[in-house]
Symmetry: C2
Subunit: 321 residues, 2 copies
């Protein structure tokens, strides 16, 4: 008999994930503080529970998809989710939260006689809808094994990264690399513009050389070289800048807590935080190239002109210096 799933947090990510569990044949009992979110989930086949505790009481697996660590801990402990659940319930937290919070939540779940994994995702709303998320999972082998079929119904890959908290750790480490490398690529494009180097020429060199990275080859921050990248639709996300700012904020917390000398990671966190509060509020994180260009006093480049531009570089000496 298929396990019963309590699903708490039916937002932009949670709703399509819960819907995919229903499609896979699970009985899903859901809860969200926002009534409209519950209504939408019910339309997709989720049963509405009067509260998160009520949902958890009859479930075999409790899945949470919440904004921050404080929500997970409040729900697990203060709201009484761990106490209400039958001993041996599997708690799967798919939220992206502080590593320290993930560990504390895990510990509390185990102390209450349950199993637990942290299983943050990558792939965004589109991946949640398409069922192609990647899960980075922390927890012991038994908990991971029990979570796997559930994760397979919502995603295309689940990587067991180690013990409790390792899923969160892997996610913030990956996103720290991503955030920094996107700024590096953006700085290089703006430097290239100042030197009269076309976007296409830099792309052609770097994407087949040692500058190759996902930020360049897949999510290229200037329009032209990679037709599918957000830059070609005026930086509509994609991976929204506020989410990158959130993830790098979590990375910065871990950097400071561990006394790690991650100077570029910290600077990137500050740069995305500022960008997300300003022009980047509704943009893909790769839009940070425009902030860098603006601070450099350069005009927006017309990529078609730039790509065809074979003027001698000396014609460009009237650029800002």
């Amino acid at each position: 008999m298929s396990p019963v799933i309590a699903f708490v947090g039916l937002g932009h990510m949670g709703a399509p994930m819960a819907a995919n569990l229903v499609k896979a044949g699970y009985r899903v009992v859901g809860h969200d503080l926002v009534p409209d979110a519950v209504d939408a989930a019910v339309a997709a086949g989720v049963e509405a529970a009067p509260s998160a505790v009520a949902a958890a009481a009859d479930a075999d697996i409790v899945l949470t998809m919440l904004p921050a660590g404080r929500h997970v801990r409040a729900l697990y402990q203060d709201a009484g989710l761990l106490a209400a659940a039958r001993p041996g319930t599997l708690f799967v937290d798919c939220s992206t939260i502080d590593v320290a919070d993930a560990r504390a939540a895990h510990q509390a779940a185990v102390a209450a006689g349950h199993l637990a994994v942290d299983a943050p995702v990558s792939g965004g709303v589109m991946g949640a809808e398409a069922g192609t998320l990647t899960f980075m999972v922390g927890g012991d082998e038994a908990a991971f094994a029990r979570a796997e079929p559930l994760l397979a119904a919502m995603g295309k890959k689940a990587v067991h990264c180690g013990a409790a908290g390792a899923g969160q750790a892997a996610k913030i480490c990956n996103n720290m690399i991503l955030g920094v490398s996107m700024i590096a690529v953006s700085e290089a494009f703006v430097l290239g513009e100042s030197l009269g180097l076309s976007h296409q020429a830099l792309y052609d060199v770097a994407s087949t050389a040692s500058g190759q990275c996902w930020a360049l080859s897949v999510n290229c921050p200037v329009p032209g070289p990679v037709p599918g990248s957000p830059a070609n639709r005026d930086y509509r996300p994609g991976f929204a800048a506020p989410l990158m700012a959130k993830d790098l904020g979590l990375a910065a917390n871990a950097v400071r807590a561990g006394g790690v000398d991650a100077e570029l990671g910290l600077r990137a966190a500050a740069l995305y935080a500022a960008f997300a509060e300003g022009a980047g509020a509704g943009e893909d994180f790769s839009g940070i190239v425009r902030a860098i260009r603006e601070r450099s006093g350069q005009q927006p480049a017309d990529h078609h002109q730039a790509a065809d531009d074979q003027q001698p570089l000396d014609d460009q000496k009237d650029q800002p210096s």
Copy 2:
């Protein structure tokens, strides 16, 4: 009839490049200030010229491979190379130098009635010996077309990046991305260590996700995940840290000259400069992970232990914080 090549600068890079030209059937007349370098080149079939000017006087193509822009400009102008060469000689500068110096050298060559390209390389000494260099070329179409067969004899690829200076621009932009992304990857590994995340787990996640980059997938700065990376031979280069420091110094010059807001690029330049003057003097640039780990107050990780370590993270709370 095959053109006669004057080759000035027969060092670690120049010597094997000249030897490959000889193998391809070119008559190569070489010069270097270091007698031993000349002797070695002669043993490889290069004819020794009494001076750079004498070599250039009878050549169809003058190729230079020198440490810095001042050497190229001094040779072209003060030493009289441009004046000594027959009008219409092609000047190919393979040195990695300042974009501004490259433009000035190009202008001087053209003013003297010659053709010129800047054609810095990537691939290092091993690429020079194997004839597998990549050339990034700046200059007009006619000059590029004339240089192409020559470059094909020394490398596997020549990318025409645009007008004069564009080859240098592409190289420093690529290497700025590379230098920053290597630090990002290194910071992420050290952060992961502080969180009890194994090197292998982070590699498995990031190399197949949005953190993927050449610095991780090919030149992985920790031993284990990528067997061929310099980390597995105690950071023997590879791409030596002092060369990365030199290239990022050139990038920083261009950043400042152009008023570009490339904050991470400038910080990376400073970090590699310090590393290259200290522990990194004889190391691959990826050795910077050890400097970051040391500044973080962490012990060197035993990657085999780390990879197998599935201890609960809470057991690691006695790590430095």
